[in-house]
C-alpha cells in the first residue's frame, strides 16, 4: 500500500500549482468573475500545455494519462478558482470516451482534448436540463437523464439559454433538446470519472478555504488575542481539516479505483462525491464564519470559494443522493454475497 504520488504526478501537481499561482491570482479571478467572462488567455495557455486532454487516450489526441492525473489538475484548479471551463469540458470528455461509440469518440474527443472545443455535462429531465455548469461556453453538451441514459449534442442542435449562477467564475446555461443529439451507448460508464473530477475540484476549494482561514485567525485579534486562540474558532478550523481530509482521501481512492479497480468505481465515486459535497459546503461556510463580518463582504475573497462549492456540491447530485446510491450499492453487495 502506497498513498504517495509518483514522481511524474508530483511534477504535474507542482507545475500546475506554480502556473496557477502566477496566472490565476485572486485579482485576476475577481476581474473575470465581475465581468462574468472566462479567462480566454489562461485557457489558451492551458490548452497549449495539453491540460484538457490529460486523461483522454493518445489515439484520440490526448495525453493518455489516468484519472489520478486528472484529479490532480482539478484540485489545483479548485484551489485557484481559475475562470476556465476545464472541469465541465473534462467531464464531458470522460463521459464520451467511456460511454460513446467509436464514431462519437472520433467526432468529439480530439477537439475536446486539444481544447478547441469546450464541453459541458449536465443532468436533464425529458431533454430539459437543470442548470448546466459551463453550458454557455460549450460547443458540445452531454445530458444525462435520471434513468442513466445520456445524449451528446452539438450546441447548434439545442436551445442554450445562458443563466447567471451565483458563481460567475464559470458560465451556466439551461439546455433544452427534446429530440436532438445522439444517444451514448452507455450513459453511466464515464460518470464515475466525472464525479472524481468534481470531487477533486471540491477538495482544492476546501484546502484553499482552510489555508486562508488559518492565516486570518492567526492575525485577527479581538479582546487582545488572535481569534484563532478561542476554541470555538480553533475547533471549527480542526473540523474543517477533518472534512477536507475525508474528502481528499475518498477522492484519491476513487481516482485510483477508476483505472486500477473499475469494478469498485461506482461505489468509490459515490463515496467521494458525498464526502466532497458535504466538505465543500461545511468548510467554506466555516471559512466565512471564522472571518466574521469581513467574510460576508464582496471585498474578501472567501465568498468566491463558498459559491464555487455550492455549485459543485449539487453538480451531478449532492451528498444525499450519493449516499442513497451508496446504500443501494451496499444492499446489492449484501444480496450478492447472500446468494453466493
Amino acid at each position: 500500500m502506497d498513498f504517495g504520488l509518483t514522481d511524474d504526478q508530483r511534477e504535474i501537481q507542482r507545475t500546475a500549482r506554480e502556473l496557477l499561482l502566477e496566472r490565476a491570482k485572486p485579482e485576476r479571478v475577481r476581474e473575470h468573475a465581475e465581468s462574468a467572462r472566462m479567462d480566454s488567455e489562461l485557457w489558451r495557455e492551458l490548452c497549449e500545455l495539453g491540460w484538457p486532454g490529460i486523461a483522454v487516450a493518445e489515439e484520440h489526441g490526448g495525453q493518455g494519462l489516468g484519472c489520478i492525473e486528472l484529479s490532480i489538475l482539478c484540485e489545483e484548479l479548485g484551489r485557484s478558482l481559475a475562470p476556465v471551463p476545464f472541469l465541465p469540458s473534462a467531464m464531458a470528455a470522460a463521459v464520451i470516451e467511456h460511454g460513446g461509440s467509436p464514431e462519437q469518440r472520433e467526432r468529439w474527443l480530439p477537439s475536446l482534448a486539444s481544447g478547441e472545443t469546450i464541453g459541458a455535462l449536465g443532468t436533464a429531465v425529458d431533454g430539459i436540463s437543470e442548470l448546466v455548469v459551463g453550458g454557455a461556453d460549450a460547443q458540445v453538451i452531454v445530458l444525462v437523464e435520471d434513468d442513466g441514459s445520456a445524449r451528446v449534442l452539438s450546441c447548434d442542435d439545442a436551445e442554450v439559454t445562458p443563466l447567471a449562477s451565483i458563481d460567475p467564475t464559470r458560465s451556466a446555461a439551461r439546455v433544452s433538446a427534446q429530440d436532438s443529439g445522439e444517444a451514448l451507448a452507455d450513459g453511466c460508464a464515464g460518470l464515475g470519472r466525472a464525479l472524481v473530477a468534481v470531487s477533486s475540484e471540491l477538495v482544492g476549494v476546501c484546502e484553499r478555504a482552510l489555508e486562508m482561514t488559518v492565516a486570518y485567525v492567526k492575525e485577527r485579534k479581538q479582546f487582545g488575542v488572535p481569534v484563532g486562540a478561542y476554541q470555538a474558532v480553533s475547533h471549527r478550523c480542526a473540523q474543517m481539516l477533518l472534512e477536507t481530509e475525508k474528502a481528499r482521501s475518498t477522492a484519491a481512492f476513487a481516482a485510483w479505483t477508476a483505472d486500477a479497480d473499475p469494478a469498485r468505481l461506482a461505489e468509490a465515486a459515490a463515496m467521494a462525491k458525498a464526502s466532497a459535497s458535504e466538505a465543500g459546503r461545511e468548510v467554506t461556510a466555516g471559512a466565512i464564519q471564522a472571518h466574521g463580518g469581513i467574510g460576508f463582504t464582496w471585498e474578501a475573497d472567501v465568498h468566491w470559494l463558498y459559491k464555487r462549492a455550492q455549485l459543485d456540491a449539487v453538480l451531478l447530485g449532492g451528498a444525499k443522493r450519493h449516499r442513497a446510491r451508496l446504500a443501494a450499492i451496499l444492499a446489492e453487495q449484501l444480496g450478492a454475497s447472500a446468494t453466493a
Binding site: L163, A232, G292
Partner: protein, 383 residues
Amino acid sequence: MDLTFSPQETAFRDELRGWLAANPPEPEPADGGEDAQFTRRRDWQRRLYDAGWAAPAWPTEYGGRGATPTESAIYFEEIGRARVPFAANTLGLLLGGPTLMVWGTPEQKERYLPPILSAEEIWCQGFSEPDAGSDLAALKTRAVKDGEDWVVTGQKVWTSGAQYSKWCMLVARTDSEVAKHKGLTYFLMDMEQDAVQVRPLRQITGEAEFNELFIEEARISDANVVGGVGNGWKVALTTLMNERAGLGFALQIRLRQLLDDLIASAAERGLLDDPLYADALAELHVRCESIRLLAWKGLTDTERYGQPGPEGSLVKWLWSDTNQRLTQLAVDIVGPDALTVGESWSYELLRARGNTIEGGTTEVLKNIIAERVLGLPRLKVSA
C-alpha cells in the same frame, strides 16, 4: 400556563390585521432601484404613522399606543405575516427612540422623537468598526472637546441606511486613559456634513445593504451627548437590548414563511414522502416551532421580571442556524437552479450566511450563554 392570547391581545391583533388588509403598501417599484425601495418604505412608514401603527410599543405621550410587550410581539408577527416592508426608519423606531426614552434629556426627547416616528428624520447606527466587532468596547473612533462642540474622527462599518440618514447613533472614545468600557460616550451625530463620508459596502449577495462611514473631524454639539460623557457603554447596551427584542418576532415569522414555501416546493416535486427530505423538513418544522415558543417564553419573562433573560441568545442562535439549514436544504430540493442569480433561494442562501455573524456571532452568543446562564468560568483575556 395559558398559550392563548387574552381577549385584549386578540382584539389588538384583529384590529392590526384588519388595517393591514385594508391598507396594503404600494407594490414594489418595477425598476427596483435602491432609492425607489427606500422611498417606498418611507411612504409606508408615513401611512403607518398616520394610522398610529408606526411604533405601537412607544408610550402614548410620545405618539405610540403604549402596547404591552406581548402586543408589540404580535405587532411584529403580523408585520412579518403580511409580508409588508419594514418601516424606513426602523432603526430610529426600534433602537434610537427607546434609547432616548431611557437616557435622553427632556429637550432631546422633544426634539428627536416626533421626526423619528413620522420618518421625517432617518436614523442609523454607528457602533461597529473594522477592528472592533465582537470586541465592540475596543472601538477607536475618537471625540475631543472643542468649545461647545466635540470633534470626531474615525471609521465605522456596517451602517445600514447611512445614505438616507439625518442622525447617527455614534459611540466614540472620549477618554483613552480609563478602562475601555469607561472611556466611551454616546452621541447623536448630524450626518449632513462634509466631514462624514458614506461609502457603500458590497456584500456576498452583490448588493450594498450597508455602508462604511469615514469621519474626519466631524462636529457634534455638546447638547447631543446622550446619557452623559463616559457613560456610552451603558447607553449602547440599551440600544443593543432593543435590537434583540422587536425584530426577532418578524424574523421568526419570515423563517416560517420560507419553510412553508420549501415544503410546498418539496410537495410539488413529490419529495414530501421521500425519507431523505421528509425527515429534514420535519426537523426544520420542530425548530421553527421551538423558536416561536422560546421567543414567547422570553417575553413572559420580560413581562414578569422586566428583562429578557440571557436566554434570548438561544433564540437568536437557533434562528440563525435554522435559517442556514433551511436555505441549504432548499438547494437540495430545488436543485442547481436554486443557485441562479435572481432566484429568491440563491439570495436567501447567501444572506443567511450573515445571520450567524450579525448582532453578535454565534461563538460569542455561546460564550454569553455559558457564562451568564450556566455560570461557567470565564476565560481571562487581557482587556
